[in-house]
Amino acid sequence: MSSDARLGLLLAIADDELVIGHRLSEWTGWVPYVEEDLAMSSIAQDEIGHARALYEIAATINGGTPDDLALGRAMADYTHAVICERPNRDYAYTAARHYLYDTADAVRLEALTSSTFKELAELVRVLRIEERYHLDHARTWFRRLASGPVEARQRFSDALADALPEAMTIFEPLPDEDALIADGTLPKPGEEMLAAWLDVVGHDLEEVGLERVMEADAEAPVGEVLPTSSGASEVADESPRPLRVPGLERRDGRWVHTAGFSGAGGRSGHHSEDFAPLWEEMTALHRAHPGARW
């Protein structure tokens, strides 16, 4: 097994956790009531802590430091799913993404518990215990907003429909997926995890009568991702290809993903216009004072 493939897997998950943790931390001090402010801040802290633990394993492979991996890379070297970098918008979108991300993360972590990569499997076993609190929180908001009143239900289902296609790209295959599958580092392909996640989300949506969220984009491919202005220069010899998020279809009582992932997305370092300002803020201290400690 090339250690590069394992490094790629660790960085993809770590980047997801770091970037969504950074977004959630933006709610600190701004949530309309203090309990929810604590929840957002606490979940953000957990996600960034999880990222740190993953970067620590990654650092043993590439010989760098966790800080350099987390904050010292060029924009196009981050391989998080684009959904993680989107601005928080309103609470409906934040709650919708939180639900979609954490249910997807749960499927991914469950699969990784049987990874042959011992350090990762051990970490994942611990992370799953902690993520349970995030899932409970996400599902509480899912039920609360989905059950109304009308404006809450409307805005929440619109936000879910907006976020769903991009959330599917959490399972966009890594460039080295075949190698990772071959030696058991990744126990399941992205498409298989995506199918399991669609079952979970489809079931939850049907339970609250919001299956239209799954239907909204069944026909036309949506969710075109714009290349970053600065990221494009990092991959100069590759013209940025838009990410097409494919449709969903209902077959035999199940929601299935029908179209494959064409084009390149977050897992190949292609990000949206929303990543540059986030990256600039997140890495500002590290760039201004390399090696700073406190």
Partner: protein, 155 residues
Amino acid sequence: MTGIEAAVRDALAHVKDPEIPVCTITQLGLVERVDVGDDAVDVTLLPTFVGCPALDEIRIDAERAVAEVAAGRRVTVRFSLEVPWTTDRITEDGREALRTFGIAPPLLQITYPCPNCGSRDTTVEAPFGPTPCRTIRYCNACRNPFEGFKPKKEY
């Protein structure tokens, strides 16, 4: 147990959790292993929560405390995930210390007895609290908010 190992364990039993200063890391069940060799002491600790910001401080405090009794041996303290830490590892006197600090010890049930008045008429105010390991609860009897240690268990 060698004399040095006993001394190391005793030193660790005096290292406090900076966020719960009435509890030692031994009471919280963080100490997983102590290996004393001819020229090295290796201590393995388990993190309560992976994202706990106090981990670095705990590691440095533990290294300092162990170095004092290690008779010149090189001291390494590291956190490991080889076994998941759960709240079952908190000792009885650790639970008592939490209670006196005003934090209800972890239980796998919704209602925790109030650490102030003992009433069982309490509710969860918010599942997330000031640190990753604590939740906010409220006592309907004495009308005080209090904190509870978040239960952590494998499932």
